[in-house]
Symmetry: C2
Subunit: 356 residues, 2 copies
């Protein structure tokens, strides 16, 4: 298996190109500027073909000739330079570290981290690269993986069945991870670590030839990138098993179609073919699950989802409608009503079409 | 290295003893009952000698002869039976799974999970055992570890320098983990994963012969148990490096002296000799760190800490006082002001007494 190469080379080239452009402008005594795709709501649209949010064609120009923009232009150059240095030294920094490092920059400290983060997003959108490619890493680690996958990280080979019960943890630098060998045939991503440990304990990874991925709630960037790579590079179908409530639906949908906020980078993160297998409203009925009443907030959220273009499929529309009719939600651990191993013996085989 | 054995045997014996007592009572036609140490605030006291919160001598009696208590008595027996079965089958369940499993019990479902959780705490306090010893595991995994430690889990040997950048993850079942080999001489536990990855990247584990532990904020039960075992069984001093704010102090203190809420189990979790190395209020001054203003809530919290018996040492009292005087707090990543590696090159060597 060959992993995609040259991400950092590509990032370095884009940064150098930016720098060269600025020098050239100065030598020709014309003001340097940068065209930055607009990330405002009005420039975000749902792409029916790709099945995720993308940016439209609008952009803004940041110019060193404008008194209002010159400081921000200088800061943008400082951030680009900081990133170039990270890449050159094969290092990573968090956004927070960069914010503090900026205390020493001539372009002055940022008022708050929101300001420096926004400049990173500008560079991501402009170069169509992820911040991770620029040497900036998320604070949080990704999901836990258990199953027959062997990876290589910085020369070390790791077997995701031999990293302990808690599994192999997806690092923030997931694009530096090489897939060495994979015998699994599918990915089952689960919302809670309670369910993750249940599936590991019942050897679901063996029974279903699956990589069990413990999302720890909303999937981190690194997790979404891993799922994208597992789907694309390893050709594994991705199944998502979350709580049967609006937040569980949302967790699944962010993996499937990305978020509007990250429209500029969804092509690197979204897994449009990933499939939500439950807990559905139908499951609540068919399995007679223990439930909680929908709260006001749940109902409002479900009604929002009904109008969201990502949920505009017969499956989602009928499940959302049914949940509103039932007035009830259920957690994935609710299957314990029928015994701890019911979820592995009955529910998942049915959902994965592996029954009988 | 031999790890403590027979935790489950001990738990099973206690449960059987409870069951036998009930049968004996019934055969002698006297009402079965259980003496349960009180966990109410008035029965929690700070133990100066052990340096953590413990339960006092008061207890309550739960009797099958009382109409008010008989249902709860039956539920207590059901929980005990559920745990006995888990232990017998070498399984683990989450509290949430147990709550849902109870849907099928004759003693009837619980009104909410608070009820079933309370019964587990009753059993913990009564038997002076952790819920993990009873087969009940926390939902969340523990911290990440990077450094020269080799462990064995279910027959698999894991080297915490060969589990990837993200490190070896402490499983909820940490008492089943055997320490095979440890070449590290100390533990450095850090609050944020940003700092964890900084220390891994700068090879702090090698430079300081340390296990780097990434707490991910407030330490999970499994993490606290790991730190306790590392300190006790491996004889490693434990250093805690957190943000310089009331929450950072709290994170450190819960590791050191435990919480009042878990007074019944602190003897298994507290590490009274663990040392908070920063960020202190003095550090903010001495290193001229970038700061944020203390908010109202921070000030109120600091004043609370001044009166908390766990902070009744000259070190803590003077640091809290100084922070109030400065009116400022600082994050551990603030050292990036002086470059990304400053924390490893300058700050930590000074704090650990490894300078020069």
């Amino acid at each position: 298996m060959v992993r995609e190469k040259g991400r950092k080379t590509k990032a370095e080239e884009k940064l150098r190109e930016f720098g060269r452009g600025v020098i050239e402008d100065i030598l020709r005594t014309r003001p340097p500027k940068l065209r930055i795709p607009s990330r405002s709501t009005s420039n975000i649209r749902y792409d029916e073909k790709n099945r995720y949010f993308v940016l439209g064609d609008r952009y803004g120009v940041r110019s060193a000739a404008s008194m209002k923009q010159v400081k921000k232009f200088a800061q943008t150059m400082c951030v680009a330079d900081f990133c170039r240095e990270l890449i050159a030294n094969d290092k990573f920094a968090t956004l927070r570290e960069m914010y503090y490092t900026a205390e020493g920059w001539e372009a002055g400290p940022f008022r708050d981290q929101g300001e420096s983060d926004a400049i990173v997003e500008d560079l991501e959108a402009t170069f169509t690269l992820k911040r991770e490619d620029l040497g900036l890493m998320p604070e949080e680690d990704g999901a836990a993986i258990y199953g027959e996958l062997v990876v290589r990280e910085e020369g070390v080979t790791i077997d995701a069945t031999k990293a302990g019960r808690a599994g192999y943890t997806i690092p923030p630098t997931i694009d530096d991870v090489e897939f060495v060998k994979c015998r699994a045939k599918r990915v089952i991503a689960v919302e809670t670590m309670g369910m993750y440990h249940r599936l590991v304990q019942e050897e679901a990874w063996k029974k279903f030839d699956a990589l069990i991925v413990g999302l720890k709630g909303q999937a981190a960037r690194a997790t979404r990138r891993f799922l994208k790579r597992a789907n694309g590079e390893l050709g594994l179908p991705v199944y998502i098993f979350a709580d049967g409530d609006p937040f569980g639906f949302h967790i699944a949908m962010v993996i499937i179609s990305g978020s509007a906020k990250l429209a500029y980078i969804n092509h690197e993160l979204a897994v449009p073919d990933a499939q939500f297998i439950g807990v559905t409203a139908s499951d609540i009925k068919n399995y007679d699950l223990p439930t909680d009443k929908l709260r006001e907030l749940d109902i409002a959220r479900l009604k929002q989802l009904q109008r969201d273009p990502r949920y505009n499929t017969p499956f989602w529309q009928s499940e959302i409608k049914l949940m509103l009719e039932l007035g009830k939600k259920a957690e994935q651990q609710a299957f314990a009503k029928y015994g701890l191993d019911y979820v592995v013996k009955e529910y998942l085989p049915e959902k994965l079409g592996l029954k009988g």
